[in-house]
Symmetry: D2
Subunit: 493 residues, 4 copies
């Protein structure tokens, strides 16, 4: 089915779907009908909201939307009442008379502004960065072309970049994930944004092109999420790279492609892999999944956790988060692992390490977090008990080997987690833009540990956490700079 098996040929998109899947949980309930045929109950409500051919891409993004829905659900519903004219054919101007954007409806700007203001409350780290660096404008002269999800949280990032001196042109990295009212607010504020919810394939590339291909303005920084923008520039405007000081890439897929370019000797500017920074990783995986596994299961199935037998496939950061949360709420948790070190960790944390086939008959919930494929096979499905819940928390949408499984995304990503990512992106841009010549070559770099620590430190005030400072004497004793970095690069946290 198309949901899981998007028609091939468009390699770029397919890769991205896999990646989007990684952050959220997908879920199905095995309902055995009297005749013991296997059926998969789907959540109609969710499904009918997004009855699209490409399916999954939109589903994964329904999340960040529903995340903001608690504040702004009204907006989504007014969309449908909008006229059906393509934004590309509309003539719109903002209140200052500028038409340097293309959004669904500029009139939604006020509502979008309120969304952004709400997001700012949970992204105090970015606001704090804005204030600290506003004077020196470390991005003065930066011309950033960006391609990300366009949500209230991204808007806070973009406006921070502007506050630090940058000029920005922005498109969406996903045809469904744009919050139209936020795009309108950005356009009203003077950002050159080209994005709307429900773009066609052609619209998608048109928007990207409009960001890059413009007279009298040439980007010198790229902020990408998924690699489509980078891909487009490579393909269409390779000469642009002459001015580019660096690429900042957030996604697993995009990073993977950068490493491939690098290996192939084709990477012609420095690139920063912000996906693998310590802080981002811990929040995207361990801390976020510790909460989202409960939220996702509860919203979709109303299952009571207490006393339930659960098997978690994979004991990496995602698996660790799932296991800890479920154990804490009274579930009996089993773990499967291929890696003996992670398996030993599972033992020491109080989980029995088993093969899936040993417990498949008795468990109430199966959760996959392996990044591997065919972890749950047809044979496993056949042996599950009736109403067993199958949930994919993993990187890959192929963890569960069924032709017709309807994976549905069902939990939200707290703004705080998005704040970590956005702050990391901003710092990576600042670092690459300001780095003395020669510090970065034509290669892929991890965020310097000191900046990783800085991202963390910007988020501490929201917990009213008070850091201890080293005395001169102590710093000397430890052989450290008083301002960090505090750990060697190989430190495991």
């Amino acid at each position: 089915m198309s949901v899981l098996e998007p028609a091939g040929g468009e390699e770029v998109k397919q890769a991205k779907e896999v990646e989007d899947a990684e952050k959220y949980s997908f879920m199905a309930t095995v309902t055995k009908a009297p005749k013991k045929q296997i059926q998969f109950a789907d959540d109609m409500q969710e499904f009918t909201k997004f009855p699209t051919k490409t399916g999954r891409r939109s589903l994964s993004r329904s999340i960040s939307q529903s995340s903001t829905d608690s504040y702004s659900s009204a907006a989504s519903y007014t969309d449908s009442s909008d006229d059906e004219v393509s934004p590309r054919e509309k003539q719109q101007t903002n209140s200052k008379g500028s038409s340097n954007f293309c959004v669904k409806n500029i009139k939604q700007a006020e509502f979008g502004r309120r969304e952004i203001e709400i997001a700012e409350q949970d992204m105090s780290a970015l606001i704090s960065l804005r204030k600290r660096a506003q004077g020196e404008k470390p991005l003065a002269g930066a011309k950033i072309v960006g391609c990300t999800h366009i949500t209230a949280q991204t808007a806070v990032l973009i406006e921070t970049l502007c506050a630090l001196g940058a000029q920005c042109r922005w498109s969406a990295c996903n045809i469904y994930s744009t919050q139209n009212e936020v795009a309108a607010a950005l356009a009203e504020a003077g950002v050159a944004v080209f994005a709307w919810k429900g773009e066609s394939e052609d619209d998608f590339w048109w928007c990207i092109d409009r960001c890059v291909n413009i007279d009298g303005w040439q980007a010198n920084m790229i902020l990408d999420d998924g690699g489509d923008l980078t891909h487009w520039v490579y393909k269409k405007y390779p000469s642009v790279f002459k001015k580019i000081r660096g690429i900042v890439e957030e996604s697993v897929t995009g990073v993977h492609r950068l490493y491939q370019l690098s290996k192939a000797g084709k990477l012609c500017v420095p690139a920063m892999n912000v996906n693998d920074s310590v802080t981002k990783q811990k929040f995207d995986n361990l801390y976020c999944c510790r909460e989202s596994i409960l939220d996702g299961l509860k919203r979709t199935t109303d299952v009571m956790f207490g006393g339930k037998q659960v098997v978690v496939c994979g004991y990496g950061e995602v698996g660790k988060g799932c296991c800890a949360a479920l154990k804490a709420l009274g579930a009996i948790v089993y773990v499967t692992e291929i890696d003996p070190i992670c398996a030993l960790q599972a033992c020491m944390d109080g989980f029995r390490v088993v093969k899936l086939s040993e417990v498949i008959r008795q468990v109430d919930v199966v959760i996959t977090c392996t990044g591997n494929k065919n972890v749950v096979t047809r044979e496993h499905l056949d042996r599950m008990k009736n109403s067993c819940i199958v949930c994919n928390m993993g990187h890959s949408n192929t963890e569960i080997d069924v032709g017709r499984l309807l994976n549905l995304s069902c939990s939200t990503v707290p703004t705080f987690v998005l704040s970590i990512t956005a702050t990391t992106q901003a710092l990576a841009l600042i670092e690459l833009y300001n780095a003395p010549e020669g510090r970065y070559k034509q290669d892929v770099y991890l965020l310097p540990k000191k900046m990783d620590e800085y991202v963390a430190s910007l988020h501490l005030p929201s917990f009213d956490a008070h850091l201890t400072e080293l005395t001169d004497d102590q710093a000397k004793y430890l052989g450290l700079n008083k301002n960090g970095p505090f750990k060697p690069n190989y430190y495991r946290y």
Copy 2:
């Protein structure tokens, strides 16, 4: 506002609202606008679903509905397309030609049947009771008049009572909580059910009356939830009590009124207080709230729990459940208490015991579970930090002292918890109906411990839990009957 201050005069209803509130969480976010006025953000989406004058009653029940929505949301939406003729004016017959019911639309029966079947899967205890007792029919001859929420879960209870030999007539204890398709399925199955979603005040009492006041059939058992049915019989048909062998009452309010009747010497039949049975209490409070506090907060606010400072007012069973769950997910939890024993428990469980005023400035979330009034005062609200979340998990809707707070219910009650309650009700009916004369006087009784234990034992198979049996020798050593009861009445569990 009407939500919190229903127009007086109808004492019966008001009491019930308080009670319904007890099981669910109500929530608001304190958003301090630039001018420092306090505003309460409400969840529009939820609210617009139930735009009723009386408000709260429906909201609290929207829960069990949304609980089933994950399976059957379609149904709810078709309601609105229904014609607007009152069910009292419709002429409907089921497929066997009977018209002994009054529901919204008998044609929804098939869909309702599927809902009931799904509920049966999570109520295996009742099904098991059905099977064990089907042969001896312990309720043969019982004529039960019932007044409860009419949901898929209640239907499983009603049909169990029928399977054990009872005849049943049923109305709804709440004008908004009826699942129309379930009522239709019951009617189709031959149960005399009089209920629909959106009854008027007049409809409400008309339905109850139709259950009691019928030629050629006189009830000998009452199953009540809230005391309205009992109240009606007392007021209109006191002679019915001559035949009544007992009343089974589930709710806090209903039980309270029975105790008052008993004190006043007006209780003329035995009554069973199933609300305070050990098993039901633990599940309604500790186990259910341990999960629903997370679910409720997440669904409404998307708050990240890790690192949040939370104060929980009250360390009873509800408070204990909330504290345990939040601590497990990385929140820093403070407790307020008036009772030194509970306060000492909080200390030993690792929570600092403070006065609310000591921490009100620093906390991110305030949760009340006291059953008391004015626990959070205007003064506290004024000192909270911006975007502090205030959540009422308590018994009383007056815990938070504000005139215009919009309390919204936002979590679900797992079917498993409802199964505990329904099984307890069934056993109480069997006990009262079959008790030898003289065992129960005109008083309010708790469920015998042995039956409480039986309720628990019926639910163990769903956890694949294997009970150990005493040997004769051990039973003698302990001075116990091998089949229980296993604990003295004062045992604290």
Copy 3:
């Protein structure tokens, strides 16, 4: 063997041994020798410290001793160097010239005083009670005869009673548990104490007799621990009961005997069962065992908890404490239960409920906390894997059915727990002594809940816990007195 099977005939002593066992853990390791015979490795060191015929009685008490050993171990070892003259034959006077006592060596008084002072630091509740009530002297005129373990903690209790106006005469309830230096300090301070470590059977009763049978002083209150003193008065000086206002009894055994006397109509004064007060129970069982299971296992076996498979027999308060602690440290815990309600609690708390035989082959540790007999049988022992640890945390010394098991006590009871008990005893004495005539009949009473709450409140300051007070308005709303009691008697905490 004598350790577990003390020679019959002396019913009084045997009962006490059982009871003493209840608070501590007893342990053995199953070591399967090459020929697969079962042997029990004993902890030589512990054992050789107390090489007594009666064995167990001393062992169970070695605990509170070792508890103080960390402060004062020197003292214990100097004992052995003491002369071998019986205290009964020594002529000793304290510094004020009084000889109204009989202890091992009055010269140890100074050292004993230091022990008492250290204990006072952890018993601030008693000190606080001393201060609050010192003015009104609620025990003025009270003549208390006591029979308890004589330790630094008891001394704090005795001196508190004196400070509140009482006169005290004291003997030991166990022939091995007296801390000689503490007895000396009490004697030096003017308390008529008759006790030393290593009394003979004859000495034991002689000491009790010296407390009761004295010219010109007649007891009007009894504080007993085990019932031996009460038994002696009943048998030898029944007329003393004419003046006795009440008996306060702490132990399971003593309370059991009082209930038997009451049933038989032979109880001729009011008696207070302080064993079953809420606060004492929670601390003696749940809170104390949560810590002592880890301590006991670690000290005796150095077992690493992480990843160990453990089965806990019995999920009462003791079992709950053990399970919670072991789970928290990474053990995989199974539970056996006979009571379906407790079994269901175990499920909801995340433990698989099994029969012992299902897991006996695979577990690394077996812990019994049932109070039942023959819970672990020879057959189970035969099937255990090599080096499986068997540990008795239970009430009964017969939980493990082996002829030659060497049970060894190995953990300590924190002074804080003893403080709870001592405060409860003091308040019970005050209540009984000051109760208006007629409040208490010739029956066994539980401590009034208000005093139970008072015990708790006296211990809150040591946690810097701040209790919230009800407003007049709230108290009225809840129908409570502002000063408590705050809960109905049947409340489960």
Copy 4:
């Protein structure tokens, strides 16, 4: 005082003391006397056992000794009754007539053998390695000179090396840590062991020399713990390095010195740093400290954890373990940190991050795990409340800035943890000995991840853990070898 400030000049020893300290907890109680002078109560019993000039070195090792004491305490005490002739002057032969050793008393061999057998039970990984590799004898031809603590656990390692084909000569890395009976058993079994408890400084180097400097036998592998053996060879017999294929070093200090040699270009053979292998690190720090903090505090102070306020300085692996355990047992835990990333982790794990001075007045326990110096200063000590417990779990013995603090070690290291280390050492020896020429240069290496994984896998059977194997298809999908390594080198576990 000498305990903390060993006379300078012998740099080698001093470094080791610091390192030994790292694994154990050191503790003191702040007792404020009436005059408010600060005194530190020391645990007399522990202290008088080891009344040595150098003090600390022995104390830290008293641990692994006491670890085995539960099985064999008798032996330790008989030592003292031994004759006082130096082993160097004794003429001893084992039962096969060999005199190629120097131990305290060869007659203790039988008892030592039993100790080794008991240790083998908890070191099944080594036994398993012995069996798997016994056929191919991967150490055939290896001539290993070793210098480690000589305990039952080390004996299992040495005999495993022999079983795999190696010849071994062994001395002790610490003058107090040798278990004489174990050394005797090794000598009886034919190992050339030169070590006894209570060596003089001169004895220490004499023993090392006897291992290295022998006619007709030249070592080709070095196994060192602390670097003394390596140091001796560098200084006295540099030509030996011509034949040495590699050095395996376990300790922090020894590894530090190897890196210094390497930096200075003086390292002339490959060296393997086994200290920093993932598996060893996790067990030495996180898992071991999670248990030992409870054990150490309980044994020395009998403190009740429930409700205690504790501040943990440092949130690395050791701090994480301490915090998790204390939180689980009901303590209220605060954290101090200098590193914002670790601070953010502490927040997300539910701990308030504070400066020490903010909480020093209120806490009951202070635990340092920083590796830094002067973390607790005189000023902090002055502000602590009476009877506050101060405990050093850290790497450095200078964390607490007092002149005369008596640090005492008080917990044990489970054999299982030592098994991890020993297995890692064995595999490192096998790897270095068998590596094809050129794989390792004159540098310091971490254990290859695959061997780290192998260490873990050897320990899984003791948890009955079942690893899942990749299918060919999955391995290909993930780009992994089916047998590992399964993670990139930078993976954080």
